[in-house]
Symmetry: C2
Subunit: 153 residues, 2 copies
Amino acid sequence: MITKKTKYALKALSYLATRPAGELVLISELAKEESVPRKFLEAILVALRKGGVLKSKIGKGGGYMLALPADKISIGKIVSILEGGFALVECLNDNVKAVCDECGDPACCGTRLVMIDVKKAIDSVFEATSLADMVERSSAAQKLKQNVVDYCI
Amino acid sequence: MITKKTKYALKALSYLATRPAGELVLISELAKEESVPRKFLEAILVALRKGGVLKSKIGKGGGYMLALPADKISIGKIVSILEGGFALVECLNDNVKAVCDECGDPACCGTRLVMIDVKKAIDSVFEATSLADMVERSSAAQKLKQNVVDYCI
DNA sequence: TTATTACCTATAAATTCTATAGGCGATAAA
DNA sequence: TTTATCGCCTATAGAATTTATAGGTAATAA
């Protein structure tokens, strides 16, 4: 299960992706438009910046913008930054050497072996899907819905 | 991320899968052999029984056994019972009508649309893998390891 | 110099996960 | 019928994580 952190991040990034490239957006605007607690969002944005997904500028006229084009930012990258990876067991996440307490021997752990496959499956979707894809799919769904509504009227 | 509940369940079920079919195993034996807190395991086993994966017998000579052959029990089923599903967002889990607080319209939620694909990917692995597969892979890994050790000696 | 804005640290509140305790009810055997 | 066994149930405590807030700091532009 992804946490609110990640959900908020995806919302904020989606918002930024719909803005003209290079435009700086205030934290307060992001928080308001996407209904995310201001201070909580702050921490999320810092993480995304440190993760290389966002750029920021301090001071008057400052704000946040995407560090890359939206089609070069994978959903997997975003999730990784905020969740510390997306494996279903800790021992398969990046930069984790530690082994589960429950696990005698990682090499023979059945759970781990299965979760390796699961991680690969998740990974392939996450890497194949960009922020741009997500935004597009969302707006396509919205458009479709409006057409249906128009048709009904 | 799966919780310890699920990890413990997989360990206990693996243990049962290696026992002769129909043999009843005590909770205390499962707890001891798989190093799971006894009382915690109890609750897990009850959930698995209610989920149709285990059968139990009360009283002297009682215990637990698999309700189905191990190759008819999918990992997905087990995870579902203990985690309430394995979608990365609540709104995609079974029996959940509620929508995320963060989500205006589920039909157009970009996050949701992406997570549908992810859920499908996870599902395909989970449904394709049985408890028997997991146990076999684990013991194959163990065997391989011992051969390597033998070779070294 | 001043207003603005992101950045950082600390902490509190809420929720979920993990673990334990104790007694109840069913069962088999003596 | 009694007794020891064993799973079942409820309640609760402890721990960890997630979510949210507060307040001050440092950089920037006008």
